[in-house]
């Protein structure tokens, strides 16, 4: 896959969440009414990646998230169980996460495939996988992103996303606009590979094949791997240079979505190997190359 553009929004949340309405307007050129933060975040990140009306109509939208629209789901739950009120109809509809895909398609004027699809430990990688299937089957371009919202109070949000009491949490929306590799448009970069490995042995075999490019490659490690795994990955791949995109990020579920834009946004080596894992011992890999 070829990367045509990237777009992102990422902010730490210390007490209250900042208003997003003006950012939506500047990113998309339109005032979208009656939407919550999750959809606002999606529009900001995606709008910074793709200007409305500039992509082929058949462009697909692939959205991932760790927990979806937490804000509206919490509102509906509290309406029902604490306030004993019926949920507002639009709030109910927005609990279905592909509501965000609808607003993206409508605002960006696209009508290709739309999918909210995720996995617990590799949400962004899952969306990338599905987009690559569609790009290989005739979809002209794919807008792939991950969005995570923060609902104050921050202390509760930390518990909700299972991070420590002193962790800085945040909101994020990271997007890539992708096309098939043979698309004539100029490339910002490429995604030659996104895949998973069921165990360490498979990952190690693959990392060993990367030795020949090791001098021109950086290694990035995702949020679900222990820090101690870094030297092991370096030894297995022969890649010494480390690309640390995470130390500047607040805590949110889909951090790997930030890696590609961060890598392509600064000068450096030609390739990035991004590795993440999960508690059951599976691994996911994204390989990114500069255009």
């Amino acid at each position: 896959m070829k990367i045509l553009a990237t777009g992102s929004y990422c902010e730490a949340v210390h007490e209250d969440v900042p208003p997003l309405k003006s950012l939506v307007e500047s990113a998309t050129g339109s005032c979208v009414r009656r939407i919550g933060r999750f959809i606002q975040l999606a529009l900001i990140g995606a709008g910074r990646c793709l200007k409305p009306g500039t992509a082929p109509a058949g462009t697909g939208v692939y959205l991932a998230s760790g927990r979806g629209d937490l804000e509206v789901t919490l509102t509906v739950l509290r309406d029902i169980f604490e306030r004993h009120e019926a949920p507002m109809p639009l709030s109910f509809i927005n609990t279905v996460s592909n509501s965000a895909c609808y607003y993206l398609a409508r605002t960006l004027q696209i009508n290709g495939p739309s999918a909210f699809a995720t996995s617990r430990y590799a949400p962004f990688e899952s969306a990338l996988r599905l987009a690559s299937l569609d790009l290989e089957n005739g979809v002209p371009t794919a807008l792939v992103g991950a969005v995570d919202v923060c609902v104050p109070p921050v202390c509760e949000h930390r518990q909700r996303i299972c991070v420590g009491a002193d962790a800085t949490v945040g909101e994020a929306s990271h997007w890539l606009l992708l096309a098939p590799r043979d698309d004539p448009a100029p490339a910002l970069g490429y995604v030659p590979l996104v895949r998973s490995f069921p165990d360490r042995a498979g990952l190690w075999d693959w990392l060993n094949t990367q030795r020949r490019w090791a001098a021109d490659t950086v290694l990035a490690v995702g949020q679900h791997l222990e820090p101690a795994s870094l030297p092991q990955l370096q030894a297995a791949s022969g890649i010494d240079a480390v690309f640390d995109y995470r130390s500047r990020l607040p805590c949110f579920d889909s951090q790997s979505a930030a890696a590609t834009g961060s890598f392509l946004g600064q000068p450096g080596k030609a390739r990035m190997v991004h590795v993440d894992g999960d508690p059951s011992g599976r691994f996911s890999v994204m390989l990114i190359e500069r255009g």
Partner: protein, 388 residues
């Protein structure tokens, strides 16, 4: 990134539980009896008690189902895996695709109610996430392949199946387990009530007397994989498109639905005249049936047999993709398309009449429609005629 192209995978194992029964054969038997009226349960909504029509899973005793979710998943998936006859090593490598609109929200609701009742500070949605059902399935069945959880409203498990089949065709995996699940919960019941979408009688898709839907509970599972048996059902094509006309209804002129049907037929390399029968989405709501009818009539000069399954099982939302596909395929394997006597008997209303009695059918190509909130439109084409 793409592996060697594989043959189209077949449906090699299925499991099913819904209002009609807790086994595939019992559910399919139920398609050959007239649809039964829904049950009702009382739901407190904003200080009032409302009677909610629904079609609970067979054997379910009450409206809400938090304690049944994982039992149902276990039973249904075990049946599919057993029929597929996968070796443990094959199952371990299989990829998992789950589609639902509510996932485990019934469990979250139960925890929240418990916290409120006990006086503990409630923290709703603690460690919640769409992929927790997939995590449970992976752990229980020792799956180590990739997993995907689809939350695209009423198209969720149809989309899961569409991507699973193509992942196998692309050579990424040899087997896939596709699961659709939907159990009753407060958010869904209250949300649909607030939208005024419930029927006061029975679901009558495309009928002059249609007045809304009845929710249904269901869980379906399909194992996809290689099968050389002639006549094995497989997914021949499909399409998924976003309709940005409205958040809650397809464009009533049928244009967006015609587009996704046309794209699905193209993907299956079929002309409209090659379609043997259609399984309509048929939610019995005023606007959506109008849009679906207009979309079908825009594509087909002459409609083949059209059937609707929601009068039998209710609207099973994100599960209906897998559940209605299993029901249709198994009915066709018995040589019949199910009928809904007295519902949309003539085509004077929307131009679509539904099969009334069971109708004999030969192996062929079958179109299945699914449309959901958020402009999510998906069509699948299954075939038991050939497989390339």
């Amino acid at each position: 990134m793409r592996g060697p192209q594989q043959a189209r995978p077949a449906f090699i194992g299925v499991g099913l539980a819904c209002h009609l029964g807790t086994s595939v054969s019992a559910c399919v038997d139920g398609l050959f009896r007239p649809p039964q009226p829904p049950r009702h349960f009382d739901l407190e909504i904003g200080g009032r008690t409302e009677r909610i029509p629904y079609k609970p899973m067979d054997g379910a005793s009450s409206g809400f189902s938090s304690d049944r979710l994982f039992t149902v998943l276990e039973d249904v998936i075990s049946a599919a895996v057993d029929e597929a006859g996968l070796r443990p090593q094959e199952l371990q490598k299989a990829w998992l695709f789950v589609g639902s609109s509510s996932f485990d929200i019934s469990v979250t609701e139960q925890q929240y109610r418990h916290d409120l009742a006990s006086g503990d500070p409630p923290l709703p949605l603690r460690d919640a996430g769409f992929a927790l059902v997939a995590e449970w399935v992976r752990n229980r069945f020792d799956l180590r392949g990739e997993d995907f959880s689809f939350n695209t409203a009423c198209t969720a498990s149809a989309n899961a199946l569409w991507y699973a089949s193509r992942a196998i065709e692309a050579g990424w995996t040899q087997h896939a387990l596709v699961v659709g699940v939907e159990l009753m919960n407060n958010i869904t019941a209250q949300g649909f009530h607030g939208l005024g979408l419930f029927s006061r009688s029975v679901m009558k898709p495309f009928d002059q007397g249609r007045d809304g839907l009845v929710l249904g509970e269901a869980c379906g599972a399909i194992v996809l994989g290689p099968d050389r048996r002639p006549g094995a059902f497989h997914l021949k094509g499909g399409a998924n498109r976003c309709d940005s006309h409205s958040m809650s209804a397809a464009n009533p002129d049928g244009s967006s639905i015609a587009a996704v049907i046309g794209e699905a037929l193209d993907a299956a390399d079929l002309a409209p005249g090659d379609v043997t029968a259609i399984k309509a989405h048929g939610t019995a709501s005023l606007l959506n049936d109008e849009a679906e009818a207009a979309g079908m009539l825009a594509i087909f000069d002459r409609l083949p047999a059209v059937c609707a399954l929601k009068p039998f099982i209710g609207h099973t939302l994100g599960a209906c993709g897998v559940v209605e596909l299993i029901l249709l395929c198994k009915a066709i394997e018995r040589g019949q398309v199910p009928g809904t006597p007295g519902i949309a008997a003539d085509s004077n209303v929307l131009g679509v009449s539904l099969t009334q009695g069971t109708r004999p059918v030969r192996p062929g190509n079958f179109l299945l429609n699914y449309f959901g909130f958020g402009g999510s439109n998906t069509c699948l084409v299954v075939s038991n005629r050939d497989r390339v």
